[in-house]
Amino acid sequence: MSYKDKIKTDLFPTIWCPGCGIGLIMTQLATVMDDLGLDKSNTVMVTGIGCTGRMGAYMQFDSVYTLHGRTLPVAEAIATVRPELNVIVVSGDGDLTSIGGNHLLHAIRRNPRIKVLCNNNEIYGLTGGQTGPTTPVGTKTVSSPAGATFSPVNLQGLVNTNPNAFYAKTTVYHQGQMRRAIKEAIEWPGFAFVDITSQCIENNGRRIGFPSANEMLNYYKKEYRQAPPGSTQLANHQLGIVKGKPAETEPVPVGAASGNGSGEA
């Protein structure tokens, strides 16, 4: 088997722009899926609105392409009804952390066994490059001509409000580390969030001074460093996986005990 068996290559070329980082995520996800034996009888994909959400259409699984911002309640319900399935959420930073922010807050709290891959390109790409919840302060975009005003959302801090949760930081340049992060997330017995910095050359990168996607990847190579082993918190531009203490109770698809008792003995 090959990772290509997980992808509908007959639908290529994708709608993604040349130089887009999403394909690099899809390749690593497909590779991990192949390694772990994920197939269309044991895995469901749930994707949100944005360029990233198209990934579900390109992969060999049943896939739910949700409303904007609503991946997490859909995914959590699937995981509750069918606890034996691998439920993989793939979406962008705007979908997951802005319009879907309230669901993220509460999914983290309830700790369902769903795996979230966040394509974090720091911009609203599909709609033309407006500033987003992860856009660094000062970045000029088509909706922040004087530079983005507010601090980006602290994803690591949010996820780690649940001591049982899993947070990984990676970039599309660091393919091996990204593959490891995705693999460990899928194997994690609870909520896992993989925060993947990735380039949107057409609707962000070129406007902030990168001539091509290659320069953006080289920038990630230069700027990002592996966190020291055993780090419990990642500094800015540090790569690594911060794992909480796995919840002691397995997720049970049971009435009033829905969720998996996060934070409870």
Partner: protein
Amino acid sequence: MAKRLLQGNEAVLLGAVKAGATYFAGYPISPSSEVLMAASVYAASHPELRFLQAEDEIASANAIIGASLAGAKSFTATSGPGYSLMQEAIGYAHKLGVPTVFVDVQRVGPATGMPTMPGQGDILQTRYGSSGDYTSIVFYPSTVAECYEYTIHAFNCAEESRSPVILLSDAFLGHLNEVVDLDAIDVPVVPRTLEPLASGHTRLFSGVATYPDGEPATADGDEFIRQYEEAKALRLEVADRYAFYEYGWNKDADTLVIAFGITRRIAQPLAPHFALFRPIRIWPVLQDQLREIAPRYKRLVVIEGSDGQYASVVERVLYRDVHRVPLLGGRMSLEAVREGLERIGLLPRELAQATVS
């Protein structure tokens, strides 16, 4: 089981269970909260019913769609602003063709309005609340026993029509306690129709217009129309089998009262003086039945808990004027009905005298 005292909202939960529901998600909101509470209590001792008290109504609505795709018969219950928040998800369920049930226990709106007072102001929202075109199926019972019965029909119809079906109720009916014998109500249950996720396919359940292979069809009007007409035809065909209504009272009277839900109960003392048409299937509107029955009467009066929402629909269907008795501000009482009839000169002398005595 013997007869028992049961509340309208609890009857909805029992009807859902009878229909085979195995997933409930909801958010507390008056006057529907008893459905959520009853679901949580039931689920605690019946693990086959999964229960989620979600962070909001948006999450609830999307969760029941995910649950249905995963293989569970699912439902939620809400009211007023909560129902407004669910509109986007209802459109999404229509687009995907997902069987699920939304229960709307109406209160007085708009906005937070009068949270504990009954209203019937969501009639048009249940038809047109989400953006775009879609074919809604909506039922509205009038008694606690019917809350149970039509909840089962709603689940059955959702399965057959592959769409989100709305069960309307109201603060009055939801909180009404009546003696019922549920065993006397026998509605056969329609089994699951949608093949669950991860059954070995590679389907794309997409809110975006797509071709069957998953490629975007976002600029192909012909494909859009083909899919829309196909969904519409299925839903209308199925709805035909659920054309529930009541026609009665004094059929020889010269005025036909149209009332539904709790309003039909409130208006019961009018029975000797008027004929009654009670739509139970609110949408699709019972056009054929109205067109057959209404011409027998000199006057039509719609008594409803909104400022003429259903009356405007009847006018449109029949091309004739309709008298209106709107019961607003939660004043859903016989007194308000009398006042309304008097205002339009249709209050029978006997009922006017009853007011005096």
